[in-house]
């Protein structure tokens, strides 16, 4: 198992403190900051250059969630609504680390340690949490036990990856900005397998996503909002008042949306409530300079992912039909081989080898795991017919099948035994690139 930065066991604070009552229904967690650039981390910068604090709004008054910490942001509430994960700095100038704080008040407990920034925590299943940790290759996703133990990396590409939510299906919804691809939303299982784009359309700059009670995902695109629904392959525009929205949206108990909003460029951002009616006006809830709303309420625990990673070398990847694509028209019969690419330590693309593509478009390869991968289709003369632009990865022992090259999540497979498996059950082996 790939181990990331160790997370030290928690040190219980023995100092006595008074514990207040849990906030009533309707309470809200939010971040107050003079300046907020939610995407700065994707460029390696600080999202809160002027500092920030997480506050609890309850009964019309706000209090600091963690008064002993100098800087705090990124509140994530536990499913039972008793504790909060935050990214925080004990003193200004220190790196961001993940802390856990009782919602009712009490001493914070540091759960990550290190010289690098760790931000954007979310409660995951089985007593674990997901967060982003800064490395030499950018922010990467990790999952670790809250009680201490080894962290597992979930992302294996150069670039910046930030978690946006743990979906009700247990997958991690994250946003990624990589050198090769437009900023977009992706999902990955809690063991780092099954990474895929949320919609295979290389859509318009999506980020700051959240899951709604309906299961829809709402996210920022440009300065507006849009959403994915289970029924549609494309994104749906969200009709809200004109203005600027910043950071993730949350859903209140009433079904109304909460978002950091300002009507004009000179105004301060307030967390506003948006009745879901076309002509409804936003109602100020917290602010000014308030962001990252998190309604206080208990919710269903996240289900765990029963990892199916096998005890195998590398990963086995099967393509059912390379001719299936919703964006590129690859003439039937034109593809003879697939070339598999990876990346060396210097970030340069390296060809790992080639495998035959059957007449039905199927091919079967064993690739290195935990490495960048992409496919390129070649004709009989070895000329490129189509090539992936973005990279993906597979975990050790992962076995995955795709319908085609760029088929999209809306395309279910046809029930045909792929020719390649009728000819052989052994994948063409691609070895790890040498440096």
């Amino acid at each position: 198992m790939e181990a990331g930065k160790p997370v030290k066991a928690a040190i219980l604070c023995l100092m006595s403190f008074s514990v207040g009552a849990a906030p009533p229904p309707g309470a809200l967690l939010y971040t107050e900051a003079p300046q907020y650039d939610p995407q700065a981390a994707l460029g390696g910068g600080d999202r809160f250059p002027g500092g920030a604090v997480v506050k609890v709004l309850s009964g019309g008054t706000s209090r600091l969630l963690a008064p002993t910490l100098a800087v705090s942001a990124d509140a994530a509430l536990s499913p039972n609504a008793t504790t909060v994960l935050i990214a925080a700095k004990e003193k200004a100038g220190q790196p961001w680390q993940i802390w856990e704080v009782p919602l009712a008040g009490g001493a914070p407990r540091q759960v990550t340690f290190g010289a690098e920034d760790s931000i954007r925590p979310f409660y995951a299943a089985e007593g674990k949490f997901v967060y982003a940790r800064k490395t030499a290759r950018g922010f990467g996703l990790e999952i670790a036990p809250l009680g201490g133990g080894s962290a597992l990396r979930l992302t294996y590409l150069p670039g910046n990856f930030l978690p946006d939510a743990i979906l009700r299906d247990g997958r991690v919804l994250f946003e990624a900005a990589t050198p090769a691809a437009v900023r977009d939303l992706y999902t990955v299982y809690a063991d780092g397998s099954g990474v895929e784009t949320r919609r295979c359309d290389h859509g318009p700059d999506r980020h700051s996503a959240a899951e709604l009670g309906s299961g829809d995902e709402i996210f920022q695109t440009g300065t507006g909002l849009a959403r994915f629904t289970s029924a549609r392959a494309g994104q749906l525009e969200v009709a809200l008042p004109k203005g600027q929205y910043l950071g993730p949206v949350a859903e209140a108990d009433s079904g109304e949306w909460l978002a950091a909003y300002r009507a004009g460029g000179a105004d301060a951002y307030w967390i506003c409530r948006f009745p879901q009616r076309a002509a409804a006006q936003p109602v100020k809830v917290a602010g000014p300079n308030a962001y990252q709303p998190v309604p206080v309420r208990a919710r269903a625990a996240v289900p765990y992912h029963p990892s199916g990673l096998g005890d195998r070398v590398g990963a086995n990847l099967l393509c059912l039909n390379a001719y299936v694509s919703k964006t590129e028209r690859v003439p039937t019969g034109s593809v003879a081989e697939v070339r598999v690419w990876s990346m060396n330590g210097r970030g340069e693309a390296v060809a790992l080898g080639k495998a035959p593509v059957e007449a039905d478009g199927s091919f079967y390869v064993q690739t290195p795991s935990e490495s960048p991968l992409r496919f390129e289709l070649l004709d009989r003369a070895g000329k490129s017919v189509a090539a992936e632009k973005g990279w993906f990865w597979a975990r050790k022992g992962e076995q995955r099948v795709c319908v085609g090259c760029h088929a999209g999540p809306e395309r279910a497979p046809e029930n045909v035994a792929p020719l390649v498996l009728l000819h052989t059950q052994k994948p063409v082996v691609m070895n790890k690139p040498t440096e």
Binding site: Y304, H305, P306, N316, L318, Q399, R411, A412, N415, A417
Partner: protein, 670 residues
């Protein structure tokens, strides 16, 4: 040393008699399954034979104890749950009739008051209820009794029992009320019964698992669907059919092919019979089951065909991240505005805007029509609502004005009443017999539910249709891609047949249904410890259905006797001894005809990691096709005519064709 099992043994079996998983008393054929009368068993050293003897001894001991206590003390009866599976509405809309397969009855309800009015007992495991054209009679197909009960709607009494083929699943009368058509699920045919004379006059060949019938609005056609796919070449796409009968000529006039469909359930017609719609599942069994998302396991679909369509077009009802499975019951509102589909595992009814659906299909070119079945975003164009109802919704029926939809919720014994305009449940009718669910009943609910699989994609009952099979072989991922293809096996009476899985790697049902299912099928957090115990309890309680090939008196026919002699022979036709391990009884012995060991019978394929396979039980083996561990034999015959060239799966190459037929006729009786 053979021993004869007689009355004492029957008595011993009786002390173990109980209500089966469906609430019906286990019938005598089942009670005798250990040693059917006239069957001799050798006492040997094999585990199965010992098991058999142990059962007899324990039975005698128990019988003796009962003798002390007095024969009048009956065994504690398990509660029976109505389990309504289909529903019909009287022509004036005032009466509802729910057929309850758990209690073997039809329940009459007052549609306006929402109360139960009367009950009438029918046969075992009734599966359907329909009304005669004039509304005076109800026809109830009794699947285990091989009869149709005719119930007088006025007196609410059974007035006639009509004999059918094996396992009648549905019955529908023609428009004139002269003939009744009955789909026989096990004999794969359709009985045509003269209602005046009460006798079957014709038998029409259907496909495998003939199941549901629909009379077209003009009365000229009857459509028949099938819950199992047709047997086809190994690893080839599945195919089912809708058998179309001309009611005037009483002939099959068309067989609409449903590509890649396996389980096909109800069929409905619209637009004056110019459109027909069948609820179907399109399994993805030929590709490795490596994950679940993106419709990887099953496509929950509708097959739309007829004069207004031209060809068969298959459309999904699923979405990208949510599945509605399996589509079962159908109802079309008057005026053809709405189509309702019950989705049993999802505890919901899907409402479809029928004109939008038809317009969507008509607007598509042939290529688009072909691809539609696998487009998970298509349903957004025609699905108008998903309506939550009770547990395991099955049959649907509309009030005559189309304003109310009645839904039979099999697993919580209720009828949901839906306002078809508002798309919400306005009333729930309880069918009574409310008792706390037993572990078996709780397990049954879990068995039908799709909520545990990733995105609610499927449940146990999707592949083990009503505890049986799907007639398919699957490429399961943990063994590798394209290797260890496995056939799906019957779940009836399997409690004592472990180990499980074709390679015998699961020692018990807890392993089979627990971690294995969660990791390699559902791919999502599934059963709690308590739920797992419940589902195992249910699976263990699934009874063996009556064997239709065994005579009621337990005696074998002459042909079956000859086959039995072959099954039990120790020498080939030349008189040479057959090695103990290569005699049929060498592996297929004991009450379930399995040694519960692994054996290499030469049927391994290059794609198998090991030639050793778990010796399967043979009870009701006739139902379990395709055969062999990977489903490569389409029929029992092919096991030996195609896959036993070297006599490693028993010595059979010395047999004549007739002798092989004798053997097979005997196997059908097991």
């Amino acid at each position: 040393m053979p021993f004869e099992v007689g009355g004492t043994r029957t008595r011993a079996c009786r002390v173990e008699t109980r209500l089966d998983a469906y609430g019906s008393p286990v019938n005598s054929a089942l009670a005798n399954a250990c040693h059917p009368k006239g069957h001799e068993r050798r006492v040997g050293t094999r585990r199965g034979t010992h098991e058999c003897a142990r059962h007899v001894i324990l039975g005698l001991f128990a019988a003796a104890l009962l003798g002390f206590a007095g024969d009048s003390i009956p065994p504690p009866a398990a509660p029976a749950y109505p389990s309504p599976i289909e529903i019909a509405v009287s022509a004036d809309g005032s009466r509802l009739y729910a057929v309850c397969e758990g209690t073997g009855e039809v329940v009459e309800m007052d549609a306006n008051a929402g109360t139960v009015a009367r009950r009438v007992r029918v046969g075992q495991h009734p599966k359907s209820v329909t009304l005669s054209a004039n509304g005076t009679q109800l026809y109830v197909a009794n699947s285990w009794s091989d009869t149709v009960s005719v119930v007088d709607a006025a007196s609410f009494k059974v007035v006639k029992e009509l004999a059918t083929g094996y396992e009648p699943n549905a019955a529908v009368a023609d428009a004139q009320g002269r003939f009744l058509y009955v789909a026989n699920r096990m004999s794969n045919d359709i009985s045509v019964i003269d209602l005046a004379r009460g006798v079957e006059t014709k038998r029409l060949l259907a496909g495998r698992g003939a199941a549901y019938l629909e009379l077209s609005a003009d009365g000229q056609r009857i459509y028949c669907t099938h819950i199992y796919p047709q047997p086809g070449p190994f690893r080839s796409p599945n195919e089912s059919e809708v058998t179309v009968i001309d009611t005037r000529r009483q002939m099959v006039v068309e067989r609409e092919k449903l590509e890649n469909a396996a389980g096909v359930f109800h069929v409905a017609t619209a637009n004056g019979g110019r459109v027909a719609i069948a609820a179907e599942i399109r399994p993805k069994n030929l590709i490795p089951l490596a994950h679940v998302e993106h419709g990887w396991v099953i496509g929950n679909s509708l097959a739309v065909f007829g004069a207004d369509i031209g060809g068969v077009v298959q459309v999904p009802i699923d979405e990208l991240d949510r599945y509605y499975t399996p589509p079962f019951g159908l109802a079309v509102t008057p005026g053809n505005r709405q189509l309702f589909v019950s989705t049993t595992g999802s505890d919901s009814v899907t409402a479809i805007d029928l004109p939008k659906l038809l317009a969507y299909i008509r607007a598509a070119n042939p290529d688009q029509r072909r691809l539609m079945a696998n487009d998970l975003s298509a349903s957004a164009n025609y699905v108008s609502a998903r309506i939550p109802v009770g547990r395991a919704p099955k049959g649907l029926a509309l009030s005559p004005d189309g304003k109310r939809l009645y839904v039979a919720n099999r697993n919580d014994d209720t009828i949901s009443v839906i306002d078809t305009a508002a798309h919400r449940v306005t009333r729930t009718i309880e069918l009574g017999h409310a008792v706390a669910p037993t572990p078996e009943r709780r397990g049954e609910r879990l068995f039908f539910s799709a909520r545990f699989a990733f995105h609610g994609h499927f449940g146990c009952a999707n592949c083990h249709i009503e505890g049986t099979i799907d007639g398919l072989n699957w490429d399961l991922e943990p063994d590798g891609f394209g290797v260890d293809i496995v056939e799906n096996r019957l779940l009836e009476d399997i409690a004592d047949t472990g180990p499980f899985k074709w390679n015998g790697s699961n020692p018990d049902l807890e392993t089979e249904c627990g971690p294995r299912t969660e990791k390699y099928f559902y791919r999502a957090q599934s059963y709690s410890k308590e739920e797992l115990a419940d589902i195992v309890s249910f699976v263990k309680s699934i009874p063996l259905r009556p064997n239709r090939y065994r005579r009621k008196d337990g005696e074998l026919t002459a042909q079956q006797e000859r086959g039995k002699a072959i099954f039990e022979r120790a020498r080939n036709k030349n008189g040479a001894p057959i090695d103990d391990t290569n005699q049929c009884l060498g592996c297929h012995s004991g009450p379930h005809y399995t040694s519960q060991q692994l054996a290499d019978v030469g049927t391994g394929k290059p794609t198998d990691r090991s030639p050793l396979v778990d010796v399967p039980q043979l009870n009701n083996v006739v139902l379990n096709g395709p055969y062999l561990h990977d489903g490569s034999a389409r029929t029992l015959e092919e096991i030996w005519t195609v896959f036993n060239p070297n006599d490693r799966h028993g010595v059979t190459n010395d047999l004549s064709k007739d002798e092989l037929n004798d053997l097979i006729e005997y196997l059908k009786t097991l």
